[in-house]
Symmetry: C3
Subunit: 346 residues, 3 copies
């Protein structure tokens, strides 16, 4: 059942230049530290030079610059990390899911399930929903009425997609992800909150991955939009009417408030927060645990993190933040005093 | 299937004063930008003046002050945003759910399901649970033994409510919400944590909405209490024995630690954190991503946010926070030096 | 159906020294404030002295130091809080689950379910999965293929464990917890993200508790490891290849980024964030809402929290953080000026 390839075969399939014995057989990928002689590893960071020296790996993927860093059989690539990803996919294809609808699933009237799709036990597909070719809907998933899912989707168990959403091809959604829940729309009326119906949709492009327990709310009036190639980690909150530009990647626990517009190719750190109605340009990087409270018009790297200290040091220092404005005024006063003293001396 | 009303009919149902052609027929609500001639829009912010000028909407909702801001047919209201919410509800009633228990649901012995309630496929209702009139329990929901849910609840697919909880009328709970899970109660005993049984309940008042993947833990001994009219967004954590006062609204990803007591009509920003055992007065507003580390006795607006900067600026500035106490002492020393120098001059 | 014990019986079972009437019958545990004459309470904090004086409890658990703080029947213990936990477990045993597989569950080929285990309706057990003795798998849980779960596990409804994971004995996992989802592994390749297959596992030791909606990702190549006795609250994110040392407790909404290694007996506050690839020593305490951006080599307590203020004060003070480096330079310049002025005086 194990797949194995000669190093030469890998290079034929994925490109790159082989150095050393191209006949060595490889059956899996592993870290330098753990790799066995039938496994290939990768080297992208000089921090791991000692591990490269000591590895038992049968072959290594590395960059042109590091081509001579080992005498092991190796593949030289322009982008060793991406090459590693491709090799790993070669050895670790997704398990096939049996096409068809499990008898323990419930399919709503008018739903269109492609015959190559797989619907697991306990899944519930709403009326008139569409499930594309080769898509896999896991156990206990729920797909709302009229929602359209493209081809080659993989929904792990317990994903919920509400009604009327539109999903492109190749979606990966991990367990507990919720797509299309109501946005947080309320209006105060004589001491009571009134709910604002959320009648927009969630529209998701091709090649999007959504992490476990991530939530994406449907739009209030217009849609919430996740463009193609966006990658969302676990426990991210995407509020109503957010737009996330293509190929942006967002790390775990980040939150994007309502109507924020994130550019393309942004990198949003874990637990970062983007306030509502802001705009972020393309290629913006936000550090972890950073609150973005104003729009960012220029590409670049942004942060807002309180520096860590021992609690007793933190306490002694942080207290002054409540009086920083006073401190600035005191310094200003000192500067004036000094000027005055210097004037008198002249 | 589309509902439509004359502008005059809307005002009869919802109040407000019609200006312009009261006969125009309206079938949906939309933004100024997207509205079509059979749609009504709303105008609450002068920022959107250009959109108001260009809108194709058939009618607009606005305030008395803006009554002459457009020549379109319009409804003038004291509270245009709440009026918009009501109009939207008029055009977008919740889809009816068919009363009865789906054959694919599992109902525990002694459970009381009102005949007007709707229990979806794959739902599991525990022993002696009570589901009130017109309540809708979605697919894959779980209701624990002895839990009581009032009338007109709407639980979206995959909501879990543990045993013994008490829920008022009109609950809306979105997918992945967990109500009544154990609080985080542990005691250290000779190098090992012992679990403290969590024997309190979650008690929820009428008209509460709970967002997707929000968690509300049951009390350790006494109950966790969510008072009427509270609105919780997605991915909020409410720890054991918290009490949230009536009509408080909490944005996504906020967290309330154990035994904290939040007042009525508070507004808690996204990703804000309230530490355990604190008390917040009524009408307190907390900014997003703010940690509240002490009780707040007075209504008002509070914040604790590190200001955003380019990463290189942030790095250059933030490092000094570790020495802020020294800086203050240096300023103090300078002030004394100046005084001394001035003294010598006299 | 109610269990009751004489105070003397409790001490026989759990240790401790009885003072006062050892014959008093106790049927439940409660807070000092709410306790009735057939209930036992506990006193561990002098803040509750008034409540101790006024309690109607039939007996009290307290420390040697407080042994004379009340005349009520009492049990004196070295560790009253742990004693309280044990007493509560005595009066509140977990409800028994009926052994066997519910007809509404789906069991994969080759799965091994211990005959004493209990599999609820709508649960799905993957091929060749193993469920140990006395383990309880709740409704709508999903256990992936080849995953092994030890004895006495309790999975509340809607827990998902992906394929190939290894779980010790006595796991408690609350609803919505996701174990074994893919880590966030992507590589940029000519403008598109490529997915890195996540082929490691999640390996969990004995006596671990996992809160509601907490997510633990499987390793990229090696495993993610949660050692024995770790306690995780709700909505925690544990990224791929993290290792959490034995008996560490982590409060709600914390997040541990990829490959971080947390020591034993650490206490991580709510919503704290540990960046990737960092190491924390044993016995490290991290304050709530604190970002840890560098490794911590020494036990102790660490914090990084912006102090709370009224929004207008915060705004006036925080703005200066963008110019803190300038301020420090201005103070430095003043110090030099003063030295210069003093020099001239001499």
């Amino acid at each position: 059942m194990t797949i194995s390839y000669r190093l030469a075969d890998i290079a034929v399939q994925l490109g790159g230049r082989v150095l050393g014995d191209a006949e060595v057989r490889i059956a899996q990928i592993a870290t330098l530290e753990k790799a066995q002689p039938d496994q290939i590893s990768f080297y992208t960071n000089s921090k791991y030079r000692a591990q490269l020296a000591g590895t038992r790996a049968g072959a290594v993927i590395l960059s042109e610059a590091d081509a001579q860093a080992t005498a092991l059989p190796r593949i030289v690539s322009d982008n060793p990390y991406a090459y590693f990803a491709k090799v790993s996919s070669l050895f670790n294809p997704l398990p096939e899911a049996k096409p068809g609808v499990h008898p323990g699933a419930v399919i709503g009237a008018g739903a269109q399930i492609d015959p190559t799709a797989s619907i697991a036990a306990m899944a519930v597909i709403g009326e008139c929903a569409v499930i594309g070719a080769h898509s896999v809907i896991g156990a206990c998933c729920f797909i709302g009425a009229n929602t359209v899912i493209g081809s080659h989707a993989r929904l792990y168990p317990g994903v919920v997609i509400y009604h009327g959403c539109v999903i492109g091809d190749n979606l990966i959604a991990h367990s507990g992800a919720v797509i299309g829940s109501d946005g947080f729309g309320i209006a105060m009326d004589e001491g009571r909150w009134i709910k604002i119906p959320q009648i927009g949709r969630v529209v998701i492009g091709d090649d999007v991955e959504i992490g476990a327990n991530t939530t994406i709310d449907r739009g209030a009036l217009d849609d919430t939009v996740i463009e193609e190639g966006v990658k969302l980690d676990n426990q991210i909150q995407v509020a109503h009417n957010v737009r996330i530009g293509a190929h942006t990647a967002i790390a775990g626990c980040a939150a994007i408030a309502g109507s924020a517009v994130i550019g393309r190719y942004c990198l949003i750190g874990g637990a970062a927060r983007i306030l509502g109605h802001l705009q972020l340009a393309d290629y913006v990087e936000i550090a972890a645990h950073t609150l973005v409270g104003k729009s960012i018009r220029e590409a670049g790297s942004y942060a807002a993190i309180y520096p860590l200290g021992r609690t007793e040091d933190w306490r002694r220092n942080a207290v002054h933040l409540r009086h920083l404005d006073d401190l600035v005024k005191r310094v200003k006063a000192l500067e004036q005093e000094i000027e005055s003293l210097k004037g008198k001396e002249r």
